[in-house]
Amino acid sequence: MSRENGRLHLWAFLQGIGFFPGGWRVEKATPDAVFQRAYYERIARMVEDARFDAIVFGDQLQGRDAAGRTPGRLAIPTLDPFTLLAVMAGVTSRVGLVATVSTTYNEPAEVAAKFAALNFISEGRAGWNIVTTVHPNSPWNFGEPELLEKSARYARAQAFVDAADAFWRQAAGHPAANAADALRNQWFDIAGTLDFPTSPQYRPVLVQAGQSPDGRNFAAQSAEAIFCPAPTIDAGRAYRDDIHERARALGRDPSKMLIMPGLAFILADTEEEAQRKHRHVLELADDQLCIEYLSESIGYDLTRLPANQPFPLDEICAACEFPAEDVRRMLTPAVEAGLSIADACRDYARKPRGHAIFVGTPEQMADRMETWIDAGACDGFTLQPGYMPSELELFCAHVAPLLQQRGLLRREYQGPTLRDHLLGEFRA
């Protein structure tokens, strides 16, 4: 079974309209379809036909506004992930369905119930991308003044996953040995679990994306698949080695976890055409859009400032919603380089969130993916189409078949559950 799964794993990390903030304006983009069922049904079938392990939707718990102003030129990132995945479950039978859910602004009972339902309606294909929520405006939506400090968030995350697991094990008829401790502790005071209908995979596949030492330890402790940003092969290998090391120290088998760096992409028949498409999508992010984009990332409404002047650092740091020292560190290089607000924001919007971006032909993309796998830099990729749906279509039609011809990607699913898809020819 393991060999036929291939040694390259593909996860489609989808946002409503794609990776680039200007992507919703591309000629082929369909921003209105993002609100319609048919769009998600078509994408789900396409990703399953290309034999991806899973579809993942990210999630955030903050309003999109900076200082009360919601951007007018940025697309809504994604609708509620469970809702989209539930729709996708209805038209597929194999592809995994992974929802991002925070452990900070939820209760284990609710999250356990939702994943039990997703697992049930998909007959064992659910996954959980476990996040702890970093945006400082999120707590306000839950009646709290500020975020828990990071190490407390990760301590709660670990306790949360253990408690949720106790619910799932109980419902499957195999109570966890540590259930009593998992349900009553410093974080939770749970007197009884809920009855869920059973499904083939007793609990969702656990996914994580820790970067900090606390985050990495949590991933090494719990995750079956791990996302990370990795701009180079060396960075990927270093991250993978580090997680494997931490897993071994915790007594876990590192071959039981996939390292899946993010990779955004733009494809075309020729490299020149791909570059042109890349330039075009960057141009569609006009100055006003880029200024809104950076505003959102620091929690300060830059649209009120003159765009041709440098950042007034002190003024911004006194009022921004993100921690002032982080914002100062982020903006200082632009101020020192003498950049105007518009120029600095344009630079920022070009490389969204620091993920690796591939621009080229299908052949080149397959080569790059194979090289990374051979170098031990990862077990596969968390793919982020530059814009939707056309770049995902190109990948499915032209890159996935190349990966299959090279024996890297499965031609058929080897089992019905998401956990079945993770088994592979690991070279830990």
């Binding site: 919703w24 304006r25 000629e27 983009a29 921003p31 609100f35 319609q36 069922r37 718990l61 903050q62 309003g63 999109r64 506004d65 919601t70 007018g72 030129r73 940025l74 697309a75 809504i76 990132p77 609708l79 509620d80 469970f82 809702t83 989209l84 539930a86 729709v87 209805g90 038209v91 602004y105 209760e107 009972a109 609710e110 939702k114 039990a116 339902a117 049930f120 309606i121 007959e123 405006n137 306000w140 939506n141 839950f142 619910f167 419902a171 939770f188 005071d189 749970i190 007197a191 009884g192 679990t193 809920l194 009855d195 869920f196 209908p197 059973t198 569609l284 006009d286 006003q288 859009l289």
Partner: protein, 296 residues
């Protein structure tokens, strides 16, 4: 004559998945107007089902392609932000035929599972239920219905003046907003209430279920009234609907689907026009108290 039914799975049924699909297909075939994703007790009250309904709704709505599909959820345990966000998506993806049924019954199970902080004196339960609904609706109201523009040429995605923080502060819930999801096509998804579950709420529901006495009371005023019937009481129920005491029947009991099929043979479905379920039921679009009048 509207026809309503509930649907749920049993946790220890090895064939639950197939059975749920078959039931949904039969109900769709019969032509229900409302399907409640809820557990019906022997006594005829509704509780949240074994299968979490907010996640199940968008999946089952593919097979239940025409009725209003209603998610039952525990009213004093759910979080307004999560519910508002999920039901916004559900309402979009069902083209405006999502409903919600916040319930107090069955809460003991949830009290135990959610933890001590969720235990409430009985006298506070309706107040928290009402606060939950107000907070959730305030988040839907953080967007105007026409906030989205989606003009690729000009680059205008939405009108920033039509999205705002609501800073809702109630006795049990506080939430800032704006919601990171647009106002649902119905404005607010249909609020359904079991009058045997909640009495004395200060918030009128869009659709209510209950016996004849309950439907005659103040709690039913202005709502679409669905009379609860079983095989034994269905004929009386039909007479009451003819007499204008209710707009439809909610069928319950082990043979509920049989009853639904039998009733539908007598009462053909009325063609209704309107872009959303709310409009087809003749219910007004909800006002948005947070919306600013923008000068023309």
């Amino acid at each position: 004559m509207y026809l309503s039914i509930s649907i749920d799975v049993s946790p220890r049924d090895g064939a639950a998945f197939a059975r749920l699909g078959q039931q949904a297909d039969r109900i769709e075939q019969a032509g229900a107007d409302f399907v409640l994703l809820a557990h019906e007790t022997g006594a005829g009250t509704l509780e949240p089902g074994r299968l979490e309904a907010v996640v199940t709704l968008p999946w089952i709505a593919r097979r239940l392609a025409t009725p209003v599909v209603v998610a039952a959820l525990p009213a004093v345990h759910s979080v307004p932000f999560h519910i508002a966000r999920a039901l916004s998506a559900a309402d979009f993806l069902t083209s405006g035929r999502a409903g919600w049924l916040p319930l107090l019954h069955g809460g003991a199970r949830f009290d135990a599972a959610y933890g001590d902080a969720y235990h409430l004196p009985p006298g506070d339960r309706v107040a928290k239920h009402d606060d939950f609904i107000r907070a959730t609706r305030a988040l839907w109201d953080s967007w105007d219905q026409d906030a989205l523009i989606l003009n690729k040429d000009s680059g205008a995605y939405l009108d920033s003046a039509k999205v705002r923080r609501v800073d809702y502060r109630g006795p049990f819930f506080a939430t800032m907003g704006p919601l990171n999801a647009a106002r649902p096509p119905q404005g607010h998804p249909l609020l359904v209430r079991d009058l045997d579950d909640v009495a004395g709420s200060t918030i009128p529901a869009d659709v209510v279920l209950g016996g004849a006495d309950r439907l005659a009371g103040v709690d039913a005023r202005g709502a679409v009234r669905l009379l609860k019937v079983t095989a034994a009481t269905v004929e009386q129920g039909e007479a009451l609907v003819r007499a204008g005491k209710a707009e439809g029947l909610h069928v319950a009991g082990p043979d509920a689907i049989d009853q639904l099929e039998a009733l539908r043979r007598h009462y053909t479905r009325q063609p209704a026009t309107g872009a959303t379920a709310r409009a087809r039921l003749g219910l007004a679009a909800p006002a948005n108290p947070y919306s600013k009048k923008v000068p023309a």
